[in-house]
Symmetry: C2
Subunit: 402 residues, 2 copies
């Protein structure tokens, strides 16, 4: 049991968490379901994209030299040799001097042509097409391989995939794609005072807000949460649930009761079954956090207050999940804002303050710890780094949105 009761920095805690992250597990998903997932393979174009010179407008395929000087008053007169059909490559259709062919958007530029005149700048008189605008070489044409070249790497592993990426991956010939599998994260709530949402609390009892909050966040973050319910401050019952959760999950979160007795029980059980790597982080809120392992599985003891649990979740647990997902750069929605007032802080610990953001101005929502209403009334968190005694009114800050 190392570092027991020794408070370490957030940076050290994150390094400890990342070190125990299980390796990325890849899974294949249909391309239309890949958005929001983390890519676990290289994606390269398997053909040139597009595979042919392609018109990007409805109009006439021409030799640009035939349109030189063309205008409203002096149209170029071209003879229409036919029509390009969508999805077909008509090798018989050849554009010679003073010849053109109708081409729809997306059609194959016929041999001999080097540009397309938009239909809006033309008129027809029988088989003759009057072109009223000159075009330059390649105008209104997407050239073969202009988008992606065959073999070109399009995406690297670790990318957080967007819907547009799904479209491009399909264009690269992939109906399915390897992404990081969803980490399975167990949640065990501990504390004699806790009752589930369905029970009306008696005096002394409170409903368990942490487990649904953690599960909801994990689900949105691309994990599979498993709720193991509430166990009281009874070491035997707690260890029974822990023994069940460890083999079923990749990571186990213990949503701690808020008392010291409860935290001590949690730490004792982890130490007995595995090892406690961290107990106490220079983080506010979130100091009484435990990081450990049981049979190679990361186990976190989170503080009991919902706001504290949430801060630990995003500052310490998230980097571990990111490592398990193979994410190449953290994906944290945030906005810049200006601080409305001074925020004092205690040097030596990283502090997270809940703020409301309105028109680019961040106003802290101070309040007693344990309050739920500041958690839902705020828009996000501002971090005061450990080396600071606070942030001054007017400073530009990054607000981590939630």
């Amino acid at each position: 049991m190392t570092r027991f009761l020794t408070v370490i920095s957030v940076k050290e805690a994150v390094a400890a968490a990342e070190k125990i992250a299980p390796p990325v597990r890849a899974v294949s998903v249909p391309v239309e379901q890949c958005a929001g997932r983390i890519l676990a393979e290289n994606i390269a174009a398997d053909t040139d994209i597009p595979g042919f010179d392609r018109s990007i407008v409805d109009g006439y395929a021409v030799r640009c030299s035939d349109t030189t000087g063309a205008g409203d008053s002096a149209p170029a007169l071209l003879s229409c040799a036919g029509r390009v059909m969508m999805g077909e490559n008509d090798t018989q259709l050849v554009i010679g001097n003073s010849v053109c062919a109708y081409i729809p958007t997306g059609g194959v530029l016929p041999a001999g042509a080097d540009a397309v005149v938009m239909v809006e700048y033309t008129e027809t008189a029988g088989d003759t097409v009057l072109v009223k605008k000159s075009v330059s070489h390649g105008e209104n044409v997407l050239m073969r391989d202009e988008d992606f070249r065959c073999g070109e790497t399009v995406f690297l592993p670790g990318k957080h995939l967007t819907p547009q990426d799904a479209g491009v991956i399909a264009s690269c010939g992939r109906a399915s794609v390897l992404v990081a599998d969803k980490p399975v994260v167990g949640i065990i709530s501990t504390g004699n005072e806790l009752v589930p949402a369905s029970v009306v609390p008696k005096p002394g009892q409170v409903r368990d807000a942490n487990a649904p909050m953690l599960a909801a966040w994990l689900y949105e973050y691309g994990c599979v949460p498993i709720l193991y319910g509430i166990v009281g401050d009874n070491r035997e019952a707690f260890e029974d649930v822990l023994e069940r959760a460890v083999p079923e999950c990749d990571v186990v979160l213990l949503s701690g009761g808020s008392s010291k007795d409860d935290r001590d029980m949690t730490a004792g059980s982890i130490a007995q079954k595995g090892s406690v790597l961290v107990h106490g982080i220079a983080l506010a809120p979130g100091k009484p956090t435990i990081i450990g392992t049981i049979r190679e599985k990361p186990v976190f003891g989170l503080p009991g207050h919902p706001a504290s649990a949430f801060v630990v979740l995003i500052t310490v647990v998230r980097p571990l999940l990111d490592k398990m997902l193979g994410l190449s750069k953290p994906w944290i929605p945030s906005v810049k804002a200006t601080l409305a007032v001074n925020i004092p802080s205690q040097r030596g610990r990283e502090e997270y303050v809940r703020v409301v953001v309105d028109k680019g101005v961040a106003t802290p929502l101070f309040g007693k710890s344990g309050l739920l209403n500041t958690l839902v009334k705020s828009d996000g968190l501002v971090c005061i780094p450990a080396g600071f005694e606070g942030l001054e009114m007017g400073s530009e800050v990054e607000v981590i949105l939630w």
Copy 2:
């Protein structure tokens, strides 16, 4: 068939789309699965939260008047009457003058006490507790109903729920919650040139990027996409699929081939089976968009280019989905940025330009329409309103992130 071939403003198109939105359908989900969904009922606290005066630290419950003037050199000496047990309400334990009781974080403040001294500021000597810091009335205590009052409305319908909201809803006594049901959105790809991702395109053919992109976006936005595959420019085959999709879906998106012929076929079929309300929007890219209904179901004809389809999806289809979800205010992730260069635009149409955002500076990625690479290399879109001839370098813009 009204407004056929008449270009209308984006605002009018959005109004037309919102007008045909089917009503919100509510569905019950477990509270731990509600994040990201749109609330479809009122949530009120069913009890006071907390339901009792609750300590927010580990320490000693005291009468604050007994600590007046207490300090390191002159501690107040109190007699310890016992210990508050977590989750219990010990009515026998009463704090009289010069008396205190150990109380863990989350414990019920015993009768007679009005504050808690943190354990860090105390020392014990047998049954005597030395208090080295004075506390004020209510210090370190969360008062009964300080968070939420019984009956108080906590959330209104239409809220986009966060993980923290899930925790609060559970605290309000709700193990499940009514949210807007996921709209079922069918996607039919049309165009003779289209082949699926699994097929290597022949000259003239391109892979269908739109359907996977649209499906992925819809899935992330909280819809259930159904892919109906690709139909060629064959009116009978197209109408067969349309007849199948309309009863199975709440909304149908036709991911158009990019040619005029194809768009005409789409409009013709919608007009024959229902009505075309809009054909053409003053929007770039995205002009050749169709909005119609078939047997009360909204049907959209989207342009063929992926970037155009995406712009129509977020500017015109999204407001309809928001209405169907009962969303009280649009939920559009965006950041403010400064334009790196002038962006010219054509007055009279709303224009969306793809931009890269780096350190608060937005740089447009100009490129031919139909390119996929500008879609994935960009971070988002900047809107140039219809009344502008462009935006100047240095202007502050809102970038809609993707």
